[in-house]
Assembly symmetry: C2
Homo-oligomer: 110 residues x 2
DNA sequence: CTTTAATATCGCAATATTACGATAATAATT
DNA sequence: AATTATTATCGTAATATTGCGATATTAAAG
């Protein structure tokens, strides 16, 4: 036990959940917001900006990068991270497809 | 360590992350999809539908209920769960506000 | 009042996540 | 080549999550 039983769910459910999951941490939300506001960034800016250790931020960046939401380009001594615009819009579309389903219920729950 | 440092983030970041987080598990995605398709449901249906133990499903329902996404109404011996339509649309709007920010970057990342 | 059915809660084991110091790796600067 | 700056990785401790059996709770049915 303690291990998510992915086998019993559809690929779609697993994929959607893992997208939600990567956004399910305030540090990663903050990183994305900072990236959006700065239009560019390097990791060390984030260490000053957020109050987390460099190792911790590097780890969160790695998770975001693993989903493809952000890309990192080596730029001399530092790394330039930015949001993948195409994937960003695609994720938004997937979330909207999920939320746009009709949830109205008539048979119960007044 | 091991504990998310919520204090260093804004309320907005924490709130948004916790919404994403609750959706970040395939069982909870599956539960919501089932609720949407059935237009109503009771917990025991879910035990047959998904392959998880009754205790596990009850726990996931509790998490969804704690955010307000679903409501449970006692209906005789069973409980009728359904999605809170208003909150559902509100969450979608919050997610869209997050995703609609301009992410285009010109200064780096070709 | 006892039985049955449905759901919730408890307790626990297994696994995952978060955080960070220490250190490695890489590349510019001197 | 040595130094410095930046980022990544390793190792580890603390905490959280997931899953489930066992049991409690609640309400209808007999």
């Amino acid at each position: 036990m303690g291990l998510t039983r992915s086998e019993i769910f559809t690929d779609e459910q697993n994929k959607l959940a893992s997208l939600f999951k990567v956004l399910g941490h305030p540090a990663r939300v903050a990183i994305l917001q900072y990236l959006i506001n700065q239009k560019a960034c390097i990791c060390n800016d984030l260490v000053d900006e957020l109050g987390l250790a460099q190792a911790t931020i590097s780890q969160h960046l790695k998770e975001l990068k693993s989903t493809g939401i952000i890309q990192g380009t080596i730029e001399g001594k530092s790394v330039c991270y930015c949001i993948d615009e195409k994937l960003w819009k695609q994720i938004q579309a997937e979330f909207n497809a999920f939320f746009n389903q009709e949830v109205k219920v008539t048979s119960c729950c007044p």
